[in-house]
Each structure stands twice: as C-alpha cells, then as structure tokens.
C-alpha cells in the first residue's frame, strides 16, 4: 500500500476535524479537490466538518443530557467542539465516546461558573455505562459461595456488578441530576443547599432498572474494601463497628456483606491471586476510598 492514500486520509481526517479551510491539513486537502458540479471544494470540506461536529455533539448530548440542559445548547455545542478536537474517539461505537468529558470540563474557562458540572458529567457517564454494561452473571449456587467463603475467607474477594460505579462529589449532584431527569411538577428549578460533607453515590443496574443512590455511611468502608479487592476476611474487619463486642462486630459485618449481595451490588467472588497474603488482618481498612473518575468500574 503506498503512502499516497494514507497521507490523504490523514490530511482529510485532520481537515474534517478542524473548522474552516485555513489550517495546514485543510489547505493540503483543498489543493487535492476539484469542484463537485457547481460546489466549490471549500464548501465540500465544510459539509464534512459540520457533519462530524454534529455527530459528536449529538452523541455527547445523548450521554450527557443533564449537562447539556445545565449549560444550554450553544455552550454545550462549544464543549462538544473542544472535545472533538482534543479527544480522539478510539472506539467504533459512537455510544462509547465521552469518557474524557468530565476531565475536559475543568480545563474550559467558560465553564468556571458551573463548578458542579464535572461531577454531574461523571454521574451521567456512570449512568450511561451502567445502562450498556453486561448483565451480572447469575449466581447458580449461592450455598457453595457461602461454603467457600466460610472455609477460606482470606482466599476470596467479592466482585461488583459490571454496571456498578462509585461517585464522590462535594456538590449535591444527585439532586441536580434528579431534578433534570424527573422534574417535580414539570419544573426543573430548585434550590441547591450548600453541603459540607462530600456526597457519595453508587450507581448500578438491577433487573428493575437503573439506580442512583446515596451510599449509606455505614457501608462506606466495606464498599471501599470490595473496590480495593481485599479479601473477605479483611472485609469483615472493614465492617466492624467501633465499641461493639466481638460477636456483634462479626454479625454486623456479615449483615453488611449480605446486603451487598441482596442489593445486586456484588454478584460473585473471585480467588485472590495470593491467598496467603494476610496483610491488614490485624488492622482497620485505612486506605483512601476508591472513587471512580468517570470510568466504569468493571471487576469481573
């Protein structure tokens, strides 16, 4: 294959991504085009530039509808334009674009007045990924899982549902998202109460549908433990309640682990790579919580 076609395609790709015909790639492309009927090459180039922008803009607006509503059509179009130029789409499925949008938002000066937009985008991305994630594998034999965990709790770790993601924010993003998704009385106006404590959200899909919930405080440590891939034995440590006696501590931890299965957050177990690694057995879970930065957390 000669380099002629390859060079042409690279130039076309760069020119189509740009705006106008002044950039070097666009000038090289225009030099290789002839009028199409009565249509000059510059207009041909513009047709593709507009179409590419529209395709990316429409796909992003479908994945981030609340962000698009929050900033308005023109502003979101500007975001999409930046995204299209700066973040290459590496996947043939248009529904897979957008992973880098939450990271792009803080870089755009014109969005400084909406400090919560990044986190709303992260939430919308998590919701989108949850919607298209694989189904959770069916647990055919829950008793055998219980037996395995009972025998060697140090040798197994729990596995989150493919659709699950954790989001942490300093802003009430769930309320913002909810107000736009399900406006009460048809209005999307509401008052944002300032909050001091960070909001921790959990997003997942069950047979009933998509869920976005605030993660209860008492489950923070144990959910973080699962996200970190620690052993079930260590999770029992994570679930301990300060000041309780040993039996109560164990019962509380087991109840918390059971609730993860009941909520379909956890869908299975996996053997640990090194079951003899008993680090942390004597201590509490103290690592920083794992927070998903706009990426689906797939642990299968």
């Amino acid at each position: 294959m000669s380099d002629v076609l390859r060079e042409l395609q690279h130039d076309l790709a760069e020119a189509f991504r740009g705006a106008g015909g002044d950039e070097p790639a666009a000038r090289r492309v225009l030099a290789r085009l002839v009028p199409m009927g009565g249509v000059p090459p510059a207009r041909s180039l513009e047709v593709y530039q507009r179409s590419l922008r529209a395709a990316v803009g429409q796909a992003l607006a479908e994945i981030f509808p609340v962000c698009a509503e929050l900033v308005g059509e023109d502003c979101f179009r500007a975001i999409a334009r930046h995204y299209s130029r700066e973040h290459a789409s590496r996947h043939p499925d248009l529904a897979r674009i957008g992973d880098s949008l939450p990271a792009l938002i803080p870089q755009l000066d014109f969005l400084a007045s909406v400090p919560y937009l990044t986190d709303v985008a992260r939430l919308e991305l998590a919701v989108h990924h949850a919607a298209i994630a694989a189904d959770a594998p069916r647990v055919d034999d829950p008793e055998s899982i219980g037996d395995a965990l009972g025998e060697r709790p140090d040798a197994w770790r729990l596995v989150f549902a493919p659709s699950l993601a954790l989001i942490e924010s300093q802003h009430p993003v769930r309320a913002i998202w909810h107000a736009h998704r399900d406006p009460v009385g048809g209005t999307k106006r509401f008052i944002i109460e300032p909050i001091e404590a960070p909001e921790r959200l959990i997003v997942w899909r069950s047979l009933e549908g998509l869920h976005v919930e605030v993660l209860a405080k008492e489950l923070h440590a144990i959910v973080d433990g699962v996200a970190q891939g620690v052993s079930v034995l260590r999770l029992l440590e994570c679930g301990r309640v300060e000041g309780a006696d040993a039996d109560s501590e164990l019962a509380a931890a087991l109840a918390a682990i059971r609730s993860l299965f009941e909520r379909s957050w956890v869908v299975g177990v996996e053997p640990l790579a090194d079951p003899n690694d008993r680090k942390g057995l004597s201590g509490r879970c103290t690592e920083a919580p794992t927070v998903i930065e706009g990426k689906r957390r797939t642990t299968t």
Partner: protein, 292 residues
Amino acid sequence: MDPGKRSDGGSDLVVGVGLGLRSAHFGELRAGAGGVAWLEALSDNYAHAAGPARRGLLELRDRYPMVLHGVGMSLGSTDPLDRDYLAAIAGLAREVEPAWISEHLAWVSVGGRHHHELLPLPFIDESIETLAAHIRIAQDVLDRRILVENSAAYLAFEGSQMSELDFVRGVLERADCGLLLDINNLYVNSRNHGFDPFVYLDAIPPDRVGQMHLGGHDDHGDLLIDAHGSAVAEPVWELFIRALERCPGVAVAIEWDRDVPSFDVLLAERDRAERLIESQILAEPRGVRRAS
C-alpha cells in the same frame, strides 16, 4: 425441511420490503404491528452492547428475519482492519444469525481515530485494492460473502481515475462480494457529481445486487445530502422502478435515522415500495416472484 422455515413455523427468509430497526419503534415491533417482513439492525449499535440493548435485539430476532448493516468496519481505511471490531461483529452474527451482513464502501477511521462518519475515497486503483483486501479479510472472518453499499460523497478528488460506476464494479469483482444498492445514495451522487443514474443502474451487474436501500435526503439547492431524515423523494422512487426491473426479487429496506417518524409513516413508505414491487411482478411474468 424448508431451509427458510424455522421449527416454530416462522420464516427466516428476507424477502420483500423490510425496515431499518430503530429503538423508537421497538414497542410496535414487539407487538407485531404492521406485518413487517424483516428488519435491518445496525450492527454497531449492538456489537459492543450488552444487557438490555442486546436482549431487546434478540427478542425481536425471535420474531423477525434479520440482516446486519454496519458503518464502523472502515473497509476503505489504510489502517489494518480492526480485528476486535470484526470479532465483535462475528459474535453478534453468531447470536442473530442474519441472512447477510453489509457494510459501506467508505472509511471511518485512520490512525486509530474514529470519525463516526462515512468518508469518501478517491476513485483510484489503490482505493480498490485497499477495499478489496479488507473485504476479503472480513469475508474470511465472518465466514460469508458480505454486501457493500455505494456511499454518498460530497467532494470530488482531483486524482480520481475512473467513474464511480467503474470504481464500484472494480471492487465487487476484485473482492468477490455483493452490492447493497442504495438508490438514494445513487441519486444524491448523480445530482452532486453530475452523472446519469439510469446509465449507472443499467451497468451494475444485477447478479451482485443482494439488497437495496430506500431513504430520504436533504436538498440544499446546490447540494443533496444523504440525511435519512425524510420521506423518499419522487426521483428516487423513479430510479427504484428501474432498479426493480434490473434486479427483480431483491430485498429492500427503508432507512430513516434522523427525526425518526411515527411507525405509520414508515409503514406508508414500506407500502409504497411494496406496491411498486407488485406492479413490477405483474408487468414482468418472468420476474423472480417473491416468496409468499
């Protein structure tokens, strides 16, 4: 057993006029509304999807004969074919068991970057070689002959050495593949590039034509755009009649992707196409009759 009949008595035959499957019409299709003969599903919407989307497709597959139509294979790219993408299409095909799989005579990615737009190729030997090599690989991986669609193009390259007609014929021959003849694209290109679409139709090898597309375009005065957002235009219906004479018995799909209308509007387009097919059969007794 009749190879076109399923054990439950349904038919897997893709004949007559089908519809491009769009999520807006899932409800009607699940309910069996309109007596739709078959569906054309967009492979890219399902190849990488899991969960409810894939289940929804397979649920419809239980009821309707289906074909797969893709835009992401990038057959005309100078990049190597994306083997992961091909594997995903092959996996989807194993589940859907489509009557056939189609793609486009275009490229959508280069340098590993996807543009999500069908981009044009200059009509030169090198483009034919690139396309033919990639089509052959795709046919090997998918273990079947595929159809490739004549795409709309909105620019003209200085270095093109042949007409679109010779270009398409060259690819079909060298890749030994079939053609998905898009009647609207043919009309759009004929208007934009200034050639006679009837001459094109008369010269296309009919035995290579495995399916046809009908769809709407946007008229910008100096330029037609294949937008799939409106009803089929009258001149396209006229071309379709000629195409039916050349390629009797070939299955036809109605495409409508943007501003998707109500199901009834889509069925009205389907009905018009069916009436034209019926009248063509009546006018040509030796034509290949549609299976009942």
